[in-house]
Structures are given as C-alpha cells and as structure tokens.
Subunit: 131 residues, 2 copies
C-alpha cells in the first residue's frame, strides 16, 4: 500500500481530493508561551477526525506558514469549533500574532519528488494512501 514515505517535516502524499488550511502568520516578538501552546495545538489537531497531516515553517523574521490537511470541509469545520472552545485561539490572536491570513482550499492535484527517485523526468503521483 505505502510504497512511498515522505521525510520528516512533510505530510504524507494522499490522493486528491482533500482539503488544506493555509495559515500564514506574523509572530510578535517574544515567546509568551507560544512554543508550548503551538505544540499542544498541533497534538490536538492530529487527534481530530479527518486530520491528514501538516507542514510548517517560520523564518527568522517571524513570518510563518502552516498548512494542515484534512479529509473533508466538515472535518475542518469541526476542528474550528473545537478551537472556539479552547481559549488558545483568542489568546493566540491577542498575544502571539500581529497579523494572519487563513485560507481553506480543496487540493486537486498532488505531486512529489525525492532525490532518491531521480532519473524519472517527473515521478508523478505515487500516493501513500487514499485519504
């Protein structure tokens, strides 16, 4: 079933369609408990129904992108409701970010490449799993 394993930091390669939440944010200076809360949120997200994985990077200027992947829009809505219950969201907004943009998108195509696969002009889809 799984011919293919993505390296650390990458979500698994699921067969579209599935959904992505693209969260781009600018951190305020200072830690203010952010690291622990972010880790807790990531752990909580991973336990939600329909969660398929996430990828995240933040640069030295505090600009970060996190993309989480979900089976359906309903799974994303349920996660959002879960977040509303947690205080973390409002706390985060007030303390940790100066600005963010959030986009929900339907993934229609997915490809990947690994150095070990090279030689093929374009290895194309080689999915881990249907979502």
């Amino acid at each position: 079933m799984s011919q293919h394993r993505n390296p650390p930091g990458f979500a698994r390669r699921f067969q579209p369609p599935y959904y992505a939440v693209i969260f781009t944010s600018q951190r305020t200076p200072g830690e203010a408990g952010y690291g622990a809360a972010a880790a807790q949120m990531a752990e909580l997200a991973a336990q939600q129904p329909g969660y398929l994985g996430a990828e995240s990077a933040r640069d030295g200027d505090g600009l970060g992108l996190t993309v989480s992947y979900w089976r359906t829009m309903e799974d994303i809505a349920a996660w959002r409701r879960q977040l509303e219950h947690a205080t973390t969201r409002d706390q985060g907004r007030a303390q940790w970010y100066s600005h963010y943009e959030l986009r929900v998108a339907r993934v229609e195509r997915a490809y990947g490449w690994d150095r070990q696969d090279d030689g093929a002009a374009d290895p194309g889809p080689d999915y881990d799993l249907a979502p």
Copy 2:
C-alpha cells in the same frame, strides 16, 4: 476598493475562488546559487498572467513552504510550461532540494486578522480585490 492592506510577506486578500500552489521543500546544505535563482524565479512568477501573490518561509533546518496564488488553473499550467523552458527547474531539483511536495488547490474561503482590527470577534472577509 482597497480598504485593507496586508503587511509585508503576505499576499493580498483576494475574494475566492482562486488557486494556490503549495510547494513544500527540504533544502540541501549549501547555497549553490539558490538565493539568486529563487529571487529570479519569484520575480518571473510575478510577471505571469494571473499571478496574485505568494507567501514563503523557510526554517533553520531548511524546511520551507511557499504558497503562490493564481487566478485560474490555466494560469498555473502556463507558469508550469514557462518553468519547463527555464533550466532552473531541473537544476533546482538536482541541486537544491532533497525532497519536495507540490499541491495545487482551489481556495474556497479566505479570512484574515490584524492586530489593529482587534475587538471584532472575527473580522471576516475584507477583500482587497476580486481576483
């Protein structure tokens, strides 16, 4: 028309639907001309028809996310063909990355928040422009 301006590093807030290319990559160690080529590619992308903006971050371990936004799937396909002509793509694959994942997605919802807007529970859509 434009009530709203996003800070540096953020794409403008367009009204969905539009399209996103989510490119997650692991850089190899060493510069090998990457910075200059990446800047050149970003500049070239910005000149393409249908380009709506991009957001990008790479962390200290070399894991990076770049999301570029486009008006239509056809615009993305045209940009991809443009890339095929450029040698940069193959060079990049061979030299600069150990792994990447590329996803094309249709943005269906977009929200944002800015510290200056706070007080509203959820400021909701406040688009710069229709795409």
